[in-house]
Point group: C2
Chain length 201, copies 2
């Protein structure tokens, strides 16, 4: 018995199954739990199970929520004419964190990836089309990750949405704010030059 | 409602309370849990609570265990004449991992630290003395961390154990195996020179 305790070994196994948590970190976390007070650990355990039991997906934007439609879809102060398409619920969180966007969202739950067997039917694309046909926004902003799959999905959506007649835009690529030109990779720098903005407008 | 879900926010809070887990990692872990299957998440939650409910301390060596005395104290194949004194249960695990030691252990649950108000009575030192008086080992190995508190505690124990008449040793300090002399700090390098071993013995 490696640890003198099967329960501790089991917890270390559970922690090390989490993404980015190695064996040593898992051990450190498990010993932390061992030293924590029981009510705190019980609260943690409850939070884990509650996330699975209580969290569902919004029938309209497919973001995570506890009540459907979600608060972002129901909020009367947000603009219906703007729809921002993202890959994952965590992207909604990231964009909301900027405070720069007051429109609606649509979560695809992935991107097209033929190699991984992910086609249009595996994403919430049908639902997006149906929704846009009904709500008729003036602009759809594609905020997918700037990688091969994200770009391919953006291209696919751009073609698909063209008949709707609304503006389809994509979030800007460029040098990160606070970044350093010297250390930017050449692709990003190239995009930043292509996408240069005229000042004084 | 930042997240569209109070339960997810609560889980992110719980994860970010763990040592070394920042807000971003906590968010990533919470989304991982959200996507995992319910039985897996329930298993994780159970493992957390089980560690608090099932794990106790060995009445002899004070290591963590589910039955007292623990399997390390009960194992008839281990040598009673050697006792290795460590700070924490995780240190037992680390030493067992080497496969180099087949004696008994004693876990102090900390080191002397007057600034933090940790005195001899806060550690399992009384219990160590009582145990050594009874079992009369030939050697006590002090395997405390090589820092100020660990060194002070080793010094204190060395004086305390002198009347027992057994050998009191301390694990070697030196250059880590696979390390590089150039990058070793001068204190470690100095200790490595002081503690040099004669070859061919």
């Amino acid at each position: 018995m490696e640890l003198g305790s099967e329960a501790l070994g089991r917890l270390i196994d559970e922690f090390s199954r989490l993404p980015g948590i190695g064996r040593k970190t898992a051990r450190r976390l498990a010993f932390h739990v061992l030293k924590a007070d029981l009510p705190i650990v019980e609260g943690f355990a409850r939070a884990l199970v509650d996330v699975k039991r209580l969290v569902t997906f919004c029938e309209s934007c497919h973001n995570i929520t506890q009540v459907s439609p979600c608060s972002l879809c129901e909020d009367p102060r947000r603009q219906d004419v703007l729809v921002c398409v993202v890959e994952e619920p965590s992207d909604v969180l990231a964009i909301e964190g900027t405070g720069e966007y007051r429109g609606r969202y649509h979560v695809l739950h992935g991107v097209l990836s033929p190699l991984d067997g992910v086609g249009p039917d595996d994403l919430k694309i049908k639902e997006l089309l149906a929704r846009l046909h009904e709500s008729r926004p003036t602009e759809v902003i594609l905020a997918l990750n700037p990688d091969t799959e994200g770009d391919a999905t953006s291209f696919y959506l751009q073609k698909l949405l063209a008949p709707l007649g609304c503006v389809v835009s994509r979030i800007a690529r460029g040098i990160p704010v606070g970044g350093d030109l010297e250390f930017a990779d050449s692709v990003t720098l190239g995009r930043a030059i292509q996408g240069r903005e005229r000042l004084g407008e």
